[in-house]
């Protein structure tokens, strides 16, 4: 088995720099929920760590530019990266942001050899996403990850089959997936490289470090038995509306968003599913687009709850010019759960289609039982001439 690993380091920061060339060369802190989600390598050098509070990060790196994380944009960019890898092989597994694995066994013949394949991936990646990644190819996931990690941007490092242990041996043991305490213990024991760690007896490693240490020991020996699990594209329900002429941010847009919610919820009902995430993407007249997403309090297919979330998102995006297109995406779908009927609380009735209700009844009892009336001659002195009956089918 040959695994290709693609790593785009500091993916959110790379996206920000790609989209805003003025940010190149500047220190960046990407913040979500008051904590550092990602930062540029320069900020890391100054002591900033992912997950720390923004106040602490600003103290350590006062000259850094703080940016709010735009998850929707990052996700969109990452999906495009995955599409590039899917060209090489359909089985693509995702890791963290900017990290993906692909099984390229037997694929190199399509491209000549693995070097050409990696060159093709790098070329397509830059062409499609304007990003440069680091590529590693090896016989298992961990070795390919390490290879991609230590190589330079835009380059690929290929590890020939059977040489994984030799390749890993001189590399620092810090690259192994160990917790801080175990790393410290290894340091105290004088074990610096993966080669030193791999030479330890397996029983002793298990006795001292437990199952996690045993796994790391096997990885250091170039054995990674973890299979590549291809990711499935997340199921979503999506609806979009284009506006010609463009809409102002007012009640009309709110109504349009309501329509999108209604359409999506109808699809959810038909599938017997619920959603827990609402994403709204607005494309503006000037060619820009903005998106926001919100996690609902629980899985639901209730149009009212979804609409409340969507309207809130719309208001949060309301500082822009006229809207050309609105796209609503409902994510984190799951099957609807059965509910116990309650004696006390009865929900408001959904608006039903009377024709849908009458159809089976008319077939059973006859169409001449179901009517609707209309005002025929309101000024007639005779009451029975003021209105007329019509069969429901004629309505």
């Amino acid at each position: 088995m040959r695994i290709l690993c693609l790593v785009i380091p500091h993916f959110p920061a790379s996206i920000e720099r790609r989209d805003e060339p003025g940010l190149r060369g500047r220190l960046l802190l990407i913040v979500k929920d008051g904590r550092v989600m990602d930062c540029s390598p320069g900020a890391l050098d100054q002591g900033v760590r992912v997950g720390m509070k923004i106040e602490g990060a600003e103290n350590l790196c006062p000259e850094a530019l703080v940016l709010a994380a735009d998850i929707t944009r990052y996700e969109g960019a990452f999906q495009r990266v995955l599409k590039v890898l899917a060209v090489v092989s359909p089985g693509v597994e995702t890791g963290s942001w900017g990290e993906a694995y692909s099984d390229i066994s037997g694929q190199s013949s399509r491209f000549g050899d693995e070097t050409t394949l990696c060159r093709e991936v790098g070329r397509r990646l830059y062409q499609e996403t304007a990003l440069q990644g680091k590529l590693g190819v090896a016989g298992n996931k961990f070795t390919s990850y390490v290879a991609a990690h230590i190589t330079r941007e835009g380059r690929a490092l290929l590890i020939p089959p059977g040489t994984e242990q030799e390749f890993l041996a001189p590399l620092p043991a810090d690259l192994l997936p160990l917790n801080q305490e175990m790393r410290e213990e290894l340091r105290l024991l004088g074990i610096r490289s993966m080669g030193q760690f791999a030479q330890l007896p397996a029983e002793a490693v298990l006795a001292r470090f437990g199952p996690q240490g045993q796994t790391a020991h096997q990885l250091a020996q170039g054995q990674d038995r973890r299979p590549l699990i291809p990711c499935q594209s997340p199921q979503v329900v999506e609806a979009r509306l284009e506006f010609e002429p463009p809409l102002e941010m007012n009640g009309m847009l709110a109504q349009a968003v309501g329509e999108l919610v209604h359409t999506c919820c109808l699809r959810l009902h038909k599938r017997g599913q619920t959603c827990q995430e609402v994403r709204l993407i607005l494309s503006f007249e000037d060619g820009s687009s903005r998106g926001a997403q919100r996690t609902l309090s629980g899985p639901t297919a209730d149009p009212k709850m979804v609409d409340a979330g969507a309207q809130e998102l719309m208001r949060s995006l309301s500082c822009a010019p006229r809207v050309m297109e609105a796209c609503l995406v409902l994510g984190r779908l799951q099957a609807q759960r059965g509910k116990q009927l309650s004696l006390g609380m009865i929900s408001q009735p959904a608006k039903v289609d009377l024709a849908h209700l009458v159809g089976p009844l008319a077939a059973k009892f006859g169409a001449d039982r179901f009517y609707w009336s209309r005002v025929a001659n309101p000024s007639s002195p005779m009451a029975e001439r003021r209105f007329a009956w019509q069969r429901w089918a004629q309505g």
């Binding site: 609380m345 009865i346 009735p349 009377l354 009892f365 179901f370 009517y371 209309r374 009451a383």
Partner: protein
């Protein structure tokens, strides 16, 4: 009850639910006082106040009793109009065959959104009502119970039909209104129920309407004033009768 006994009761209930299904046994949880049971307003504010919950209850059967020209149809029509304003669908089972579309129009009913069922006999009327009650209708009016009289329907069929309607309405958000005409027989009013039709038992709300006086204008009769007395209300304590005013031009207003 001690905590231990509570735990024991919980385990017994859980065992029964596992064996017979979750709907076999469950605790009735009283809704918080701040939330009223779901309802549709009648359009007469004074009557809504008298009813205690702000209107006619959803998921329950409501019976309107009264002699002719007491305002039963008008009251039902106003509730239909209120339901339609809220975007809900309505159906009217016109067993008596006396429905006046023009008058419903004057009562603000959207005729295009009202399904009128004109069954050929009482058995058919009950069967269609059972089917409609299972739908997601906002309101269903059965006009009228008195017409079932004299159709030689077996009492078991009537009772079974009413039980099924009651069950289906209880699991739907529908307000089911049954109109019953009463006639005067000393010492009071008597409802013309067919034998074996225990509507009074199944109805959660029974309202008796009685015309009190005619409303005259320049010597002509323009309408009438009726009093609505609550005979039975499972959702609120009893209250004093409410008065409603009906004018024949179709403008109907509450005296609240």
């Amino acid at each position: 009850m001690s905590r231990r006994k509570y735990h024991k009761l919980d385990s017994v209930v859980a065992g029964l639910q596992r064996r017979f299904g979750p709907r076999a046994i469950y605790r009735y949880q009283r809704p918080p006082d701040s939330t009223l049971p779901p309802h549709i307003p009648t359009g007469f504010p004074e009557l809504d106040r008298t009813l205690g919950i702000g209107g006619l209850p959803r998921g329950r059967i409501t019976e309107l009793l009264g002699p002719v020209t007491s305002g039963k149809v008008t009251l039902a029509a106003k509730v239909v109009a209120q339901a339609q304003i809220a975007g809900q669908q309505a159906a009217w089972v016109d067993l008596s065959g006396t429905l006046d579309g023009d008058y419903l129009h004057c009562c603000d009913v959207d005729l295009k959104g009202l399904l009128v069922v004109r069954p050929h006999n009482g058995e058919e009327a009950l069967a269609i009502t059972i089917s409609l009650a299972a739908g997601e209708l906002g309101i269903l009016v059965f006009d009228e119970v008195t017409s079932l009289q004299g159709q030689s329907l077996p009492p078991a069929l009537l009772q079974g039909a009413l039980a099924r309607i009651h069950h289906r309405v209880a699991h739907s958000p529908c307000v089911a209104i049954f109109l019953t005409t009463t006639h005067f027989a000393p010492p009071g009013e008597v409802a013309n129920y067919p034998p074996g039709f225990p509507l009074g038992h199944y109805a959660a709300l029974r309202l008796s309407l009685k015309r009190e006086k005619w409303i005259r204008q320049h010597g002509d009769v323009r309408g009438c004033q009726a009093s609505v007395t609550t005979l039975k209300n499972r959702l609120a304590p009893p209250a004093a009768p409410a008065r409603i005013e009906i004018t024949f031009e179709g403008t109907v207003r509450g005296n609240g």
